[in-house]
Symmetry: C2
Subunit: 270 residues, 2 copies
């Protein structure tokens, strides 16, 4: 596995790192194609916001350069960037202005079945709920035990993703995806101000919808609204858009708006 | 820093560890005195419960042996044991029956002021709330960003600890301690079935109170109940019991029951 630590090839991490001790950090998962990191500016913008909210000191322009060099070396696959607050002493108190540690891990592109994007997927109904924590909502931070528990709820290939609600029963996201639906001709995606990860692909789709004059609302969506949806899809920055064909007793055809967005995405990606 | 990886001296961690990637693991912080880990059986029991709830495969008896050897080598100080699910591939899905990784870190005993236990401390009112997640409540898992945010709320030595409430305003715990109070002659400590860490020292104090026929309730405690308390203290397995002398506009004398428990603790610890 290709691995860089603070810009240099490495195969090991200092054991006092606060990323390990407390999950005190953030990550980004970037598709790498033709030696280039895709959607780089969007990933960097989210990372910068996360660092600002967690008061992690990171030189984002240096990270941009590092990601480009790493992607050139990787060629094709996935670049996972982990940013931690760096080494800690005992105790939770964070050192002030300590420069963040960057860990870059390269891996092959996941072997997603082609049918997922073409014919759609079945969504597993996860029992694991997302706790509501506004201070961390939206961030792609390293505290991901809820996702680990949710992903462990199903095995096998029948379900390509799982749907997670918050503790109040609102629809939030997939385990590793964001969620969209179409209702009354309008695109809807859950507000992520209490929990959830504000995905880079979600942001791109919101912008594409605006450019194409597709009505879109970002709002709280109760679980009971799902049956009234006429299209449902999930998205992330690796696979793009997967239509949802089935969830519990509910089933959908792949809808026209979903197809439109898949097409817009195919030409829009940087 | 003394560091062992899976029972052997090491100074680095594999970067694909799921403890770093997702906080997918647990930890224990043990006082080491005269070459022995204190309250070892209680720490191991909590660790075993955590592994069972997170489906992490750990040979707890091997860990006991490892901790005893590590403590003998360390002599005096703090042994921090981190248990992770081990290395991961890309994605949240945990491998089944993968043996856990053990990381042991030794550090000197913290230089807590002697007055903390003798005269009591001031408690900072943290604004950071604990999210309610029953699936993780009570566990000492590696997802600790809430504690990092809470601990960053104050600097300096005026406050030795901070008090955290859950998102509904119930009293839960300190940032690195559990909370007790005395009200109407009865010992109270918050129920930890929605959030919080069920500390080893908390468990010992509950047992000591039972042995000494001190009435005790573990229950939800609303923030508004604090002013009615006649004694308040915090505890953890490193420092034992610190009386709380001040919180916001509230102040207390060190009470008789707090002193009794400090005395019981001094003779009870293994």
């Amino acid at each position: 596995m290709l691995c860089w630590l603070d810009g240099l090839p490495a195969n090991a991490l200092p054991p006092a790192d606060r990323g390990l001790a407390y999950g005190d950090g953030l990550f980004e998962t970037l598709a790498v194609k033709d030696g280039r990191p895709r959607l780089l500016q969007r990933h960097l913008a989210r990372l910068a916001e996360g660092c600002q909210r967690l008061a992690i000191t990171l030189d984002v322009s240096a990270v941009a350069d590092e990601l480009e060099r790493f992607a050139a070396r990787l060629g094709e696959g996935v670049a996972k960037l982990i940013v931690t607050r760096g080494d800690g002493q005992r105790g939770y108190a964070p050192a002030v202005n300590q420069p963040a540690r960057r860990i870059l891990l390269g891996s092959p592109f996941p072997a997603y079945p082609k049918e997922n994007a073409a014919q759609g997927i079945a969504l597993f109904p996860c029992r694991t709920r997302l706790a509501e924590q506004p201070l961390l909502a939206g961030l792609k931070h390293l505290n991901r035990l809820e996702q680990v528990l949710a992903r462990a709820e199903w095995q096998g290939s029948e379900y390509a993703e799982g749907l997670m609600c918050d503790s109040s029963g609102r629809l939030i996201e997939g385990v590793f995806s964001n969620l969209f639906m179409v209702k009354n001709g309008e695109l809807l995606t859950p507000a992520l101000n209490r929990c959830g990860v504000a995905g880079v692909m979600r942001g791109l789709i919101i912008d594409l919808a605006a450019s194409a004059h597709i009505a879109l609302q970002v709002r709280d969506i109760d679980g009971h609204e799902l049956p009234a949806a006429c299209e449902v899809f999930v998205c992330n920055s690796l696979y793009g858009i997967w239509p949802v064909r089935r969830f519990a007793a509910q089933s959908w055809q792949v809808g026209a708006l979903t197809r439109t967005l898949q097409r817009l995405l195919a030409t829009a990606e940087d």
